[in-house]
Amino acid sequence: MSDTAGEQHPIGIYLKIWLLLFVLSAFSYMVDYFHVQGYLRWTLIITFMLLKAGLIVSIFMHFQWERLALKYTLLLPTLAIMVLIGLMLIEGDYTFATRHAFFDRG
């Protein structure tokens, strides 16, 4: 049960990930700094965001070294969030259209 086995990684890996997170953050800042717009902006922002999130969870939180029993326990419930996002995306568009239809009579 002791968790010491398998937890020992050289310090270097944390420094590398740290550096990588710095670079990725700098990239996403550059997206804003150079006024990248439209679909390219959103694609870049989401790509850098997911890369950063993945590095933090898998390396810093040791998720990639956990057993599958925990991985599924934590990952499967988040599918419900995806459903919520999908529903609210539709709902937001609908509300926007309704507001235009009923309040933009001026």
Binding site: D3, Y33, R67
Partner: protein
């Protein structure tokens, strides 16, 4: 009388899906970790839901707002030495939080190696970085409040900007503040040697919480400040 030996030897060595089926189905505890660590993971899963709901709510009101959304890039800009830098404050806060995550990850590593001195130093460094993050956030809030941002309106456009901003960053800031206190308490106990017998899983558990706070900031940074 000695307790009966379990029917299945509790090993957690079998890999892949069959290993998972065995972990869940065999006569043993399902997760190969101290209960505190599992509970922290479950708590973080619930916290994921809370922040996801906040961000989804933000997406919904921003989609449905008929007024133009205030330009975050300009609102959070700073002028340093006559040079106009968009989002500078937020970039600094991001780098501080990432750095604190790095120091925390190293603290966990040194804790399992039994290096108490380095663990305490790194945990205190993490807490100090976290506290400076909260300080910068307080500065950001007072600047915005001074500019006239309120939960019910602001000078630049859609009124929903203020309510979502204060709710999301406020809830995240609260998490960071709680994390700083949590880190300080555990660092003190590590320094006192309270965990010499129990083992240092507690540092990893504290680390999980702290990395999660950093993780949430990654999403807030992308969706609230950069979008």
């Amino acid at each position: 009388m000695k307790p009966a030996e379990p029917l299945v030897t509790s090993d957690y060595t079998e890999p892949g899906v069959s290993g998972m089926v065995r972990d869940w189905g065999a006569d043993k505890q399902a997760f190969d970790m101290p209960w505190g660590k599992l509970m922290m993971w479950i708590f973080l899963l619930s916290d994921t839901f809370i922040f996801s709901i906040f961000l989804t709510g933000y997406m919904n009101v921003r989609l449905s707002a008929t007024d133009t959304w205030p330009p975050a890039s300009e609102i959070f800009a700073l002028t340093v030495g006559g040079v106009y830098l968009p989002l500078l404050l937020i970039a600094i806060m991001t780098f501080i939080l990432i750095t604190s995550s790095g120091t925390m990850a190293m603290a966990v590593n040194y804790a399992y190696r039994g290096d108490r001195r380095r663990t305490v130093i790194l945990m205190i460094a993490t807490a100090v970085l976290g506290a400076s993050f909260v300080g910068l956030q307080a500065f950001e809030w007072s600047k915005l409040i001074h500019d006239g941002v309120r939960p019910w309106g602001n000078p630049w456009g859609a009124a929903q900007f203020g309510s979502t901003f204060f709710m999301i960053t406020g809830f995240h800031g609260l998490h960071v503040s709680a994390g700083v206190i949590y880190l300080a308490i555990i660092a003190r106990k590590v320094a006192r040697g309270d965990y010499e017998k129990k083992g240092y899983a507690i540092v990893e558990i504290t680390g999980l919480y702290w990395h999660f706070v950093d993780l949430v900031w990654v999403f807030i940074f992308a969706f609230f400040y950069l979008w």
